[in-house]
């Protein structure tokens, strides 16, 4: 059995307004930032400026990794995340995307996405046009906040007017997909002030996608250390629930529909073509330091060396820079399907779940699913055993709790992934 959704087996009343992505994705990690945000725990290092020696070493090694990993993957999305991909020199995105196509990793003319900091677009008025010319299809803008004090708190280098300028330059350059990323839940934030920020972001002409993530304090970051010393940096859990509701309500009123717990699109075609692959367990390959990959046919996840030097060293030795790999047992695989799919409004197709993990698992949880429905957390569409579980807004808010509640005892912790 493969993981590719088989469209013929889907029930006729499939609730998704856009079909689930089918083609694999390619993720490219760009591990550089001009400064490190105090909440960030991703694999990044500060960079003196574009064109530095390290950036060039990175480009070389990255192209070699694509060669080492050459395979008939045929990804239709190439997503540059980071880090700060907007720091990359001219021609970088085209060069990497072309190399990926050449190695069979991407299909011809893939959708190219990148993450960008607003200030980079302000400082270089030609940047957006250059990206468009390189074939960039979508830009995910690290707005994080519009409120000045929140921007300073989050250690960001831009201000609210930079965001407006950046969005307008992207729109003028003809970039079809513009996403604004937001962080909420910083200490002291009220539903009212959050609403103001959301309304302003949604009103920016050209923005057709919004991601809104709650601030999470990770150990090992400057915020983590400050919190350990007793500082309050994030809102309390009950307040975070109120903010979550505010995000969903305000964005719905502003014309952005939730399709995942933290992601909103102005129209179905603006749902993230790349990120949806993570939630629907489609195959993806990650290249660059710390990048993660998923090979569903082998039931395998693997990830790259996190430190730049380790990653580069492996490549220079002519080896794939994989740090670790794991083969999922059916229990693990099922848990992943649950918590990933229950984050999305596409929900969980019970028939497919039963086909993969056995009908006993679905039967064992029938009462639980009904209970969720009665509590307004999901809609049960179609047959109890073969239909769909569709999370409501309240269900999305507690998706992790739902996944934890499902009884998977029928599944062995074996190592033979489905």
């Amino acid at each position: 059995m493969t993981d590719r959704p088989d469209s013929t087996s889907l029930p006729p009343d499939l609730p998704t307004e856009t079909p689930e992505p089918a083609a694999p994705g390619l993720y490219v990690h760009v591990p550089f930032c001009s400064r490190i945000c105090p909440y960030c725990d991703f694999a990044v290092t500060p960079l003196g400026g574009p064109g530095s020696e390290r950036l060039d070493r990175y480009r070389q090694a990255l192209l070699q990794e694509l060669e080492l990993r050459a395979a008939a993957l045929g990804a239709d999305t190439v997503y540059f995340g980071g880090g700060t991909p907007s720091l990359a020199p001219a021609g970088f995105f085209r060069e990497v995307a072309s190399a990926a196509v050449e190695r069979g990793l991407a299909s011809p003319s893939p959708f190219v996405f990148l993450e960008a900091n607003p200030e980079d677009l302000v400082h270089d008025p030609d940047l957006a046009r250059r990206w468009a010319a390189e074939g960039v299809w979508g830009v995910s803008l690290g707005v994080q906040a519009l409120d000045e004090s929140r921007l300073r708190f989050l250690g960001r280098a831009h201000n609210a007017s930079d965001v407006a300028v950046a969005v307008s330059r992207l729109a003028e350059a003809g970039i079809p997909w513009i996403s604004a990323d937001l962080i909420y839940g910083t200490a002291g934030q009220t539903p009212d002030s959050l609403r103001e920020e959301l309304v302003a972001i949604a009103a920016l002409p050209g923005v057709n996608h919004i991601s809104a993530y709650e601030l999470s304090i990770e150990p090992g970051t400057p915020f983590g250390r400050r919190q350990a010393r007793g500082e309050t940096l994030a809102v309390r859990s009950d307040h975070a629930s109120a903010l979550f509701r505010e995000v969903h309500e305000t964005l719905r009123e502003s014309g952005f529909a939730a399709y995942e717990a933290c992601n909103f699109a102005a129209a179905p075609e603006f749902r993230s073509r790349h990120n949806r692959k993570y939630w629907s367990l489609v195959e993806y390959l990650g290249v660059g330091p710390s990048a993660h990959s998923f090979a569903p046919e082998r039931g395998e996840r693997f990830w790259n060396q996190r430190a730049f030097d380790d990653w580069e060293e492996a490549i220079l030795r002519g080896e794939e820079p994989t740090a670790e790999r794991e083969t999922l047992c059916s229990h693990e695989r099922a848990l992943e399907e649950l918590f990933l799919r229950l984050r999305t409004t596409d929900g969980l197709p019970l028939g497919r779940f039963a086909a993969r993990y056995g009908e006993a698992v679905v039967r064992a949880n029938r009462r639980l699913f009904r209970d969720w429905r009665d509590r307004g957390l999901v809609q049960l569409r179609g047959d109890e055993l073969r239909g769909w579980l569709l999370p409501t807004r309240d269900g999305l808010a507690v998706a992790d709790a739902l996944a934890r509640e499902v009884n998977l005892d029928a599944l062995a912790h074996d190592r033979n992934a489905a």
């Binding site: 693990e332 992943e336 992790d400």
Partner: protein
């Protein structure tokens, strides 16, 4: 190492102990004295101690006593035998302290050069005076940057009435002043008295257990003599035994022919079980029995109680055997089986006081590797019921129906609280909050005040020590002794989660304290119970009457941020751990309460 040709004559024997407030450096000083007199290097010393610790581990029983015989050669070439007798360092063990002091002629009174005289120092000093001991003040830790020996001298003068110029300045840590201390022991502490020709009377001040030899009695011979082959009797136990071996407590046991009046040493008499002896009992000659026992024995009686549960129910057997082992050497520790619907199987334990509770908890956790949950400590109440019966109740589970209760009494203490003068206001406020009955103030010096306060024991069981330290900016200390039982108005407060009583959280409290205590529990519990998909009411109740309430709203957000760059593994592992933790949750009605919630609610620091 000095070696006398034969036994040291009694006029060159000194029996002494070290009395000190906790943390004033008693163990370090003892180690230094042992090292100096043993003539061993640091390294040998450490190795030797480690050896004996390994031995302890093999036996599974910890030998606590640090009593030891030291040989000290003075400058004029005479060899003295200095018997250091160990004392427990806290009020909970006041009776043990007394027993140790009874075995000595003198005491080193250790005072921290930075902390100064504390309430416990005063209390210990009074006991030493009661037994007519020669007290040698030692100002320790003079190497600390905050050391202020001159101020401490003043305190020794004004608060203890000792000659401040007789105080020895020392840093046990750096080995400074050790010679001076040894000289003071020899010159100022008198040799023991007693007539070796009298009928034998020896006080058992401690005991150890040896897998091969059985019980090892640590004794101070007061009258007469004890030697190998003697037939002796334990007065209280009224059992006769033949002495197999007597000797001195060197770093290892060193057999001698005889222990005569004034001597401190050990005796092995073929006793197999430590339960068969009583610390404080008197050893007499079976053939020529002395008529009166030495004052030393008192039935240990627990005054503080707490339910002890293993965090993991699998550890119940382990906990039971650990308690069994600890109680072998600690007759004051009592325990009996108990069941809680929320926490499973555990034990209701009795302790001499809060410190004793802490020590036992620490040993269970550290030496036996157990993770434990302890219920709020309680005292033992006396409850008179209408049928004319008197019940002793220390467990909320056995509290009688209030309808049949005639009257209730609770134990009171006299606390001696030493504080800077400027803290009198806040401390009196704290005491009033703690249901102060009466108080008296003694101005010890221009800066320091002693408050003698009578208040319920139950009131010092909850963070009294911490609060006292806070309101006195770290300068306050206290000590207490039990007084008597007095009439009280007691209620049983239950905590309800969606209407279901959580038995482990029930407690007996004074009427006045019921509401704030209940609210505190409700709030801490509300913060610690994870989201459920329905509203949860947490209530405090007395019988059917609700006195406090908090709610946990349904639908607390429970979806983590992104799986960034496709890192699904980390998130799945987190969920797996949480899912695993969920299996260990306690189900109360329709609500699942994690162990961590009980820990959060019950953790109110019981340190005294």
């Amino acid at each position: 190492m000095p070696r006398p040709a034969g036994p040291v004559p009694i006029e060159r024997v000194r029996n002494f102990c070290i009395i000190a407030h906790i943390d004033h450096g008693k163990s370090t000083l003892a180690d230094r004295l042992i090292q100096r007199c043993g003539g061993v290097s640091d390294r040998e010393f450490r190795d030797q101690l480690l050896d004996s610790m390994d031995l302890e581990r093999e036996r599974g029983i910890t030998i606590k006593s640090n009593s030891v015989s030291l040989l000290h050669e003075t400058k004029d070439g005479e060899t003295y035998q200095l018997n250091l007798i160990d004392t427990p360092g806290h009020v909970d063990f006041s009776h043990e302290v007394r027993r140790s002091l009874m075995s000595c002629e003198g005491a080193l009174l250790l005072v921290d050069a930075a902390q100064g005289v504390e309430a416990q120092t005063v209390a210990n000093h009074f006991v030493a005076m009661e037994y007519d001991l020669e007290v040698v003040p030692v100002i320790n830790k003079i190497d600390l940057p905050a050391a202020d020996p001159e101020r401490v001298r003043e305190e020794i003068d004004e608060e203890l009435g000792l000659d401040p110029f007789e105080a020895v300045l020392a840093s046990a840590k750096k080995g400074e002043g050790i010679e001076e201390i040894l000289d003071a022991i020899v010159t100022r502490i008198p040799p023991p008295g007693g007539d070796p020709a009298d009928p034998l009377r020896a006080l058992i001040f401690d005991a150890q257990y040896d897998t091969f030899r059985g019980v090892v009695l640590l004794v101070r011979v007061v009258d007469g003599a004890i030697r190998r082959g003697d037939r002796v009797r334990l007065m209280r136990g009224d059992t006769d035994h033949v002495v197999e071996e007597v000797g001195l407590l060197r770093l290892r046991r060193e057999p001698v022919e005889v222990l005569s009046a004034g001597a401190v040493g050990y005796a092995i008499c073929g006793i197999k079980r430590i339960q068969d002896i009583a610390i404080g009992d008197t050893v007499i000659d079976a053939a020529r029995p002395a008529q009166t026992s030495l004052p030393g024995y008192r039935e240990p009686r627990p005054v503080v109680f707490s339910s002890v549960y293993p965090i993991s129910t699998d550890d119940y057997g382990e906990l039971e055997s650990a308690l069994g082992k600890l109680s072998l050497n600690d007759p004051a520790l009592t325990y009996e089986r108990e069941t809680s619907t929320a926490l499973g199987f555990g034990f209701r334990c009795g302790f001499l006081g809060l410190l004793h509770l802490d020590v036992v908890q620490e040993r269970l956790q550290r030496e036996h590797g157990l993770s434990l949950l302890l219920s709020a400590p309680s005292v033992r109440y006396r409850v008179a019921t209408r049928d004319g019966e008197l019940h002793e109740v220390e467990n909320p589970a056995y509290y009688p129906d209030p309808a049949i209760i005639d009257g209730t009494e609770e134990p009171y203490i006299r606390a001696s609280i030493l504080i800077p003068e400027r803290s009198v206001g806040p401390v009196m406020e704290l005491l009033t909050e703690r249901r102060l009955a009466t108080s008296r103030m003694n101005f010890l010096s221009s800066r320091r005040v002693e408050i003698q306060a009578e208040l319920p024991l139950a009131e010092v069981l909850f963070d009294f020590h911490d609060r006292l330290k806070t309101v006195t900016h770290g300068y306050g200390s206290y000590d207490y002794e039990l007084l008597d039982y007095r009439s009280t108005r007691l209620v049983k407060v239950d905590i309800l989660v969606n209407g279901e009583r959580v038995d482990a959280l029930s407690q007996l409290v004074h009427e006045e304290k019921a509401r704030p205590r209940a609210l505190g529990y409700c709030e801490r519990l509300a913060e610690a119970i994870p989201m459920h998909n329905f509203k949860i009411a947490i209530q405090g109740a007395i019988g059917g009457k609700i006195i406090a309430r908090t709610n946990i709203r349904a639908l607390r957000k429970d979806v983590t941020a992104r799986c960034y760059g496709g890192d699904v593994t980390r998130k799945r592992k987190l969920l797996e751990r949480q899912k695993e933790g969920k299996k260990r949750m306690k189900q109360v009605g329709n609500v699942q309460i994690p162990q961590s919630a009980f820990v959060a609610v019950l953790k109110s620091s019981p340190a005294a």
